[in-house]
Amino acid sequence: MAVTTAGQTSSQEAAKASFLYRPEVRAVIYQLILLAGIVAFFWYIISNTIINLRRLGIASGFEFMSRTASFDISQTLIPYSAGSTYFTAFMVGLWNTVLVSVIGIVLATILGFIMGIARLSSNWLIARIGTIFVEVLRNIPLLLLLLFMYFAVLKSDLLPQVRNARELWFGSYISNRGINLPAPIFEPGFGYVMLAAILGLALAVGIGIWARRRRLLTGQPFPAFWVGVAVTVAIPLVVAVLMGRPMSFDYPVKGTFNFTGGFVLSPEFLALLAGLSVYTASFIAEAVRAGILAVSKGQKEAAAALGLAPNQALRLVVLPQAARVMIPPLTSNYLSLTKNSSLALAIAYPDLVAVTGTMLNNTGQAVEIILLTMAVYLTLSLLTSLLMNWFNARIALVER
């Protein structure tokens, strides 16, 4: 009995001695140290910032957002004038970023797929063109590409001066002030056309579902895609004619300085869009190529053996499988395109960073404005990730 007690005591002592060596205890200690470090770090930074701001007499808080901005922005998707608030200006910048990112993503994807598939073409020349496109664009800085597109192209007399603007089709013009396009004007009755368009689209989707079901049942193919396109275009067109064409165009007309009327795609927007799209396309092309190469050769051979034409094999067999491999790199490319759109400020496109830069300058409230800008980009990144994850999940479901 006595022996047992002694044994217990000694093991308790041993436990005490090794208390500090137990992994769980250490983990807690390490984390406490880290927590203390983080708290100290933030305390240091925040207290310094507060002291500095107070010492410099810089105001803080977000009240400035409701003050009058009193500066102009060259491209506004939402109503904005110099009399609007800083908040509205912020939103203008945000929408400009979203606009260029979304269109950039679409263009980069299209071009990237073309170039990625081109690199794998059996045609030697086409494959080389694809390779050169990728290797040239991937290895130069995006900023350089943007500045090149903007300053070099603008200044090298490749584009005519606005006074000698070249006329393109349908009354649109191109010059070094951008591309001027006719703007549609919707007259009463256009609502019916819109309704018809929605109807057409719904019908197209219906045809698609029906064609798919029929193919699964009978194996008969049906050109659902083209019929769908035809339906979507034809129905609103017929309605438009019946309604007596309830839409007219506001054509750009040469004014004293610029074109008046219509709407303009500014050179800043075009340069940014072109730069972002081709740069990102070179990365997407690589992702596409890697994705296609990841599909085993047997799949292609099996498709050929089943009598599918090469483009059918690509579309129906290879790409759906390659998509699974491609989605993660595509996602990260879309994210970087969105973030890279912030380089807009180097070429005078009023994106979020450019507009907030002006705000920062006029209010001096750097901390609030930079944090807000970062928060917006984080949100945009998060949204893109979520969307792509959802798409990824869908693809995975179709697969298995």
């Binding site: 983990a27 500095n52 059996s122 045609n123 020349l125 040239v136 290895n139 800085p141 500045l147």
Partner: protein
Amino acid sequence: MDTQVAQGTIVTPNAGMNEPLPPPASLVGPLAWLRQNLFSSIGNTVLTILGLLLIYAILKPFLDWAIFSAVWSGPDGSVCRVEGTGACWPFVFAKFGQFMYGRFPDAERWRVNLTYALALAGVVPLMIPSVPGKMWNAVYVFIIFPIMAYWLLTGGIFGLPIVETQYWGGLLITLVVATVGITMSFPIGIILALGRRSKMPLVKWCSIAFIEFVRGVPLITILFMSSVMLPLFLEHGTNPDKLLRALIGVSLFAGAYMAETVRGGLQAIPRGQVEAAEALGLSYGKTMGLVVLPQALKHVIPNIVSEFIGLFKDTSLVLIIGLFDLLGIVQQNMQGDAKWFAPSTPMTGYVFAGLIFWVFCFGMSRYSQFMERKLNTSHR
């Protein structure tokens, strides 16, 4: 046996008949190659023709601009202002020193060159897998060289005059930002990657928060933060150098990306390695430092190189916060120096800067591909 059979074949009366015929002309030779690779079908022929037209449409004006109607010598921009002339190369020749060194004093430029030479002496053997003594090589590249480079470039020691960072510029800044960024990104990235895989929730979530935050925002906002807000964060009177502030921003940025690269490498290491190390009684630090990380990092060398390529390209963003890297100084010279104004000057400047960036990045990407092949054969 074989020989006999072979001999037997040779002695057959109709020897000439049995000699292998050359393949039909339609299968070999340049013509056949053309047919197979360019004109195998109508669709392919159309593509080839379109491709040729595209190449012609791009290459002809470019070559014409860059070589045939380019100006190659001249005292100032007036020779380039002549109607119909192409690239203005004398601009690049005249400004070459500035593009390479910025406003680093002429008399001190040997210090920059010496730094480059020292860097090459360390990095080249490190990059060639067959050269022995990697350990000491790494010590040189990562410890001795940075200290020597710092002394050489900033001066103030051994009687070297001090060159303030505001005089640095051009390719020098580009290389300094990129190399410091990538070097600093290693410790930051490794700590964050290990942190992200840690079992301690606080460590894990702090790492995740930092990594995802930095990766979620554009580099330019981080540069703004480090250049505009850093002075506000510090005690009054601490004024880090402008270049140093950019370096801090770039290092944190590169660190977050490096963390994800390293994490990829860590995931590739089988669990058994850690368990074996633990069974041998190695501490966490030794397990990671001696067993896991060396393997993990070796796996991701190609990714690290592409990370470096990305960072090298991203350094051009420092021009937005007012540092004159290669791109910045080219732009400043073509827009700010009236002597060289000509319609083709900007294009010439950008093409030159693009060429330099391209040579560096393309070279590195080739190296990364080489390493990838090398690693593939040794592991699989």
